[in-house]
């Protein structure tokens, strides 16, 4: 086993594709760092300034009437008016950099929106307001900040928040990336069968060794993600690793950033193993790189095209391949709302990995394939 690992390692080390992939990943991350720095990503003064416009437009959908407490306007109209008049206060808090006031107004806003969800005619203005789950996450985030007397940062993203942002962006297409990367994992072996036949080793062990080297490269990618964002420490400082992130996990909870990053990394590793094993099986069955990619993408796309299926088959691991959206609670905004739990997703993924391994061990190593 050690010998085959060594051989594969030497092969992979000099493979043009791997060097190229590592370079691309590094370039993309550095590009994102520069982008985040240049556009002042995460700076609330820039990002919150235009938030009041949709509310102003929502206001236009109603006839103008008396919006005081006993006035004859409808409840939802009064609510929107109140929201509209909270925004100037929030903007002022941002401009004068008063975090406490900002958090207070933010909480008032989320409370008002929360009330609006229960009122009649809410559908009329639903498009102009954030969705229920977004609001709930905002609400618990700001409440947490207030309870623990944490300061809101008015600058752009520092290192730890940027990492959380980076993992949520990369995570959403991580599975597809690994699928494409690993799509030819076994194809070369089929082209040079005589070479492989020389290895004095069983097929399942050979596959295991191949997967392990691929996963080694995936680890390099993940390390690259962290290393390449280090320049941000120089630009914007380290930030707090224990700063809260609102996460949906069956219910809205608050994670510190390090926990969010840890969960993302665990998810990414599981997804990578899953993708690589799937590629092995599809390679052996289809013997074509592109067909492998197409089949994998179809698996990913089907729950997106037919959201009803998610409710029908909650244990389908492909529901969880876009884990940042699972952690955002996006599945609650679907036409058929469904609660996806990120821990359950991890368990389903692990079960599928075990299943795939069993398939490789017992089915693929028999018959014709034994020969390679």
């Amino acid at each position: 086993m050690r010998n085959i690992l060594k051989t594969l390692f030497i092969i992979e080390k000099t493979d043009r594709k791997n060097i190229f992939a590592c370079l691309i990943v590094a370039l993309c991350i550095i590009g994102m760092v520069v982008f985040a720095n240049a556009t002042e990503l995460g700076n609330p003064i820039k990002e919150k300034s235009s938030e009041s416009l949709p509310v102003k437009v929502a206001l236009n959908k109603f006839q103008i009437v008396d919006a005081s407490e006993y006035g004859d306007g409808s409840d939802i109209y009064k609510n929107i008016v109140k929201q509209y008049y909270t925004y100037p206060k929030q903007r002022m808090a941002l401009k004068t950099e008063q975090p406490a006031l900002f958090i207070e107004t933010a909480i008032v806003l989320t409370e008002l929106r929360k009330q609006a969800f229960e009122m009649d005619d809410y559908e009329l203005i639903a498009g102009n307001l954030p969705s229920k789950i977004e609001n709930e996450m905002d609400s618990s985030y700001y409440k947490y900040l207030k309870e623990h007397n944490l300061d809101l940062s008015f600058g752009s993203l520092s290192f730890y928040p940027f990492l959380a942002f980076l993992f949520s962006v990369v995570g959403s297409f991580w599975f597809i990336l690994i699928c494409i990367y690993s799509s030819n994992i076994m194809i070369d072996d089929f082209r040079h069968i005589s070479l492989i036949k020389g290895y004095p080793i069983a097929f399942s062990q050979y596959v295991l060794a191949k997967c392990m080297t691929s996963i080694g490269i995936v680890f390099i990618f993940i390390i690259e993600l962290i290393v390449c964002s280090l320049p941000l420490i120089y630009f914007n400082g380290l930030g707090q690793a224990s700063y809260p992130v609102a996460v949906f996990n069956g219910e809205v909870t608050i994670y510190p950033i390090y926990k969010y990053i840890a969960i993302s990394i665990v998810y990414m590793i599981c997804l990578a193993v899953f993708a690589i094993l799937l590629s092995v099986i599809l390679n052996v069955i289809l013997k074509n790189v592109y067909l492998t990619i197409f089949v994998q993408i179809i698996f990913v796309v089907i729950p997106i095209l037919f959201p009803g299926l998610i409710k029908l088959i909650p244990f389908n691991p492909f529901n969880y391949v876009n884990f940042p959206s699972v952690l955002n609670g996006d599945s609650l905004n679907l036409a058929a709302p469904v609660t996806l739990n990120s821990y359950a997703g991890l368990i389903y993924l692990c079960i599928s990995i075990v299943l795939l391994m069993a398939i490789i061990k017992w089915f693929l190593s028999t018959g014709k394939l034994q020969k390679i």
């Binding site: 416009l53 437009v57 929502a58 592109y290």
Partner: protein, 396 residues
Amino acid sequence: MWAYFKWEFRQFFTNKKNIAVYVILLFLALYFAFKVAPIYEPIEKVDVAEMEARFTTRDDFIKSVGNKTNVHPAVGYALAIFPQWNELDKARIEAIANKDYLKYVEATAEWYKYSDAIIVNSGQLFYNPLYYTYGNDFGHADGHYGYGYTGSRFTGYAEGNPEFSLELFEERTALQTLQRLLNNYLPIVLFISCIFLSVDIVLKDRRNPSLLKGFPIADWKRLCMKGLIAFIGSVMSFIPLCVGFVIIGLQNGFGDFSLPVPIYSYIEKTFTNMSMGTFILKNALFISVWILFFIAIILLLSLIVKAEFINLFVSLIVIAAEWLYSNRGMGAFTDIQRYPTSYVQVGQIISGYKNYIYESLHLTYQNGLIIVGSCTLIMMVFTLIVSQSKRFKLIA
């Protein structure tokens, strides 16, 4: 030559990957026709309730303050603009109730022009609220474009007098759906399928070299044949998409080729109409040039680099590049018209939408054809030169 063509042709259409591409396109077309197209909700739809609500509110307002003197300037302004607006709304409501579509079309065209003229520079009046979605900073600009577009479209209906139907007004007929998609992601779908179809057209030969060495034909002739077949194959990817077109046509009517398609002119800041036939022909020509461009890239890279992975990566980067640098209004201070990648969204170039969002004068159809076409020619010449060299043989 002919025998080689037939041989390549058969290989192309029996390739498992290519069949899969066609099947996926067919699936997408069916999915679109059955699931996406029926739930399309245009912002500018024929909504009598909305018109009535607007009409009664303003009517009440005019009746209650209309005969008062000494009013606030804002009220005075409202009193000046509302009566004509209401007249148009009233005409629309009545025409729809009587099913007098010609009158509806005329009143609607007027209504959009009048509304746009008043709203565009006003800080208090807004376009249809659906333009101002949560998180969209350009709702007002989008609304201005949308109103101008719809106004021009209805003017075209009034002049052209096609067969009226509600589907026509809401752009649901098959040809109009095609036009909407050309302004949207259809070109990109076609380009991606072209890339997947032709990505291995040269490199597949390296697997069985001894078989192909027997053909007594020069390398550059082979490349020409391969390019031709890739082009035919990519154009054929229309066929599975046509299934979706026919289904939508049977559901909502096909529309006809003389329907107006509004084209935005950046210089005059107004819309003019082009006929549907011309619009689709122009798109077809531009898309063909782009397909040749991708095939030329793939042939050249296959000769020089000899890795399918690179073929795929570079051509997909060409498609995606625009998203990396695009920013609304950037045309005013950068030369985006010089990059061929700015022209990937073919329909948006022809309809002038790109001019509008980039605020650039130069992103035109002619410039696009010249730039993309000359890039293609340069790459083709390059490929021919390289294929003469002994170093870059087709088969190792």
